[in-house]
Symmetry: C2
Subunit: 193 residues, 2 copies
């Protein structure tokens, strides 16, 4: 069973973090939320209180295949300023494990230096904090083990790219149907053309 | 200031409930989550623990302009089987306040009888539990004060329709830009045509 860690710090963006948890769990990934704040209850950037599954310092990260960094402020800067988080991102990148970040989250990858020479994206305005990234404006960008995405409305697309990387296209495609994502895309096309 | 209640019962769908909370709060609505389970901590259908802002029995519902019912199982059936919730839905409907439900959530509206003769939708398969609804397969359906929607991937579109009804099109449009929803729709169009 594939395993993923979603990191939570005070001020995390709730939709970006929890859409990933929801999609990965539906897709059969063992996905846990880990607080970096020393306590399980973490307050999101829109005042939603979520109880994390564990504290980062208590988790054996070697058992995990992916780390996911949500946006939100000051959540993303809190993650960026944590030495433990930066070490974890560097370690997972070195081991070619999935390192994923969305919205303001890629600033963590920027500080860790893992975007240098890689294609990546972020919420508009964070381009200068991503190191030597090859900046893209696509909704979701994958370059090898690195997955980045743009913001709240792209969270579900980001989540599905992570799921696809962990569990394969077939599981992702079936879940896209079940969660009505294909339906939404077809509806948008139908109404705009 | 407009005020909305998002109802939480054990087994609520996290993305459907919390996307609405996130969008409404960003849009300036005083939005609270209310547990119907007698305790503030509520476990979602994908095992995310959320602390509600209040218990339904402690809230003066007369001060609120909208009630929102997320899907998820058994969350939606727990809401449907609550007399207090059914009374609230009937009362808000009678007062022409916004009554909104997504995914399996419209079964609550079905039991309350507020969809009879109205256009509505739900997650596929719940059509028979909606009373005398005029069933639609659109992503989001509004008929007067009643707003219904289809499932997890339509949650953000549902949330914006509620925001638009409470705060007007201009606030909703500005927030669609900020949360990148227009960007996503344009990207889908660009890549599929």
């Amino acid at each position: 069973m594939k395993k993923a860690i979603v990191l939570l710090a005070k001020g995390f963006e709730e939709v970006e973090a929890l859409t990933v948890v929801d999609v990965l769990r539906r897709g059969g990934v063992h996905c846990i939320t880990c607080s970096i704040d020393g306590e399980e209850e973490v307050l999101g950037s829109h005042s939603i209180h979520v109880k994390a599954n564990n504290l980062l310092e208590k988790v054996d990260v070697n058992k995990y295949d992916a780390v996911v960094i949500p946006g939100g402020m000051p959540g993303a800067s809190n993650l960026r300023d944590s030495e433990k988080v930066i070490e974890l991102v560097k370690k997972f990148n070195k081991e070619n494990k999935i390192v994923a970040a969305i919205c303001a989250g890629p600033i963590v990858l920027g500080r860790a230096g893992v975007l240098d020479g890689k294609k990546g994206t972020s919420y508009p305005g964070f381009e200068e904090q991503l190191g030597e990234v090859v900046y893209s404006e696509d909704m979701v960008v994958q370059d090898g083990n690195i997955i980045t995405s743009r913001g709240p409305a792209t969270a579900i697309h980001f989540a599905f790219k992570i799921l696809e990387s962990l569990e394969g296209i077939k599981i992702a495609e079936n879940l896209r149907e079940a969660m009505l994502l294909n339906f939404v895309e077809n509806d948008i096309l139908k109404n705009k053309i």
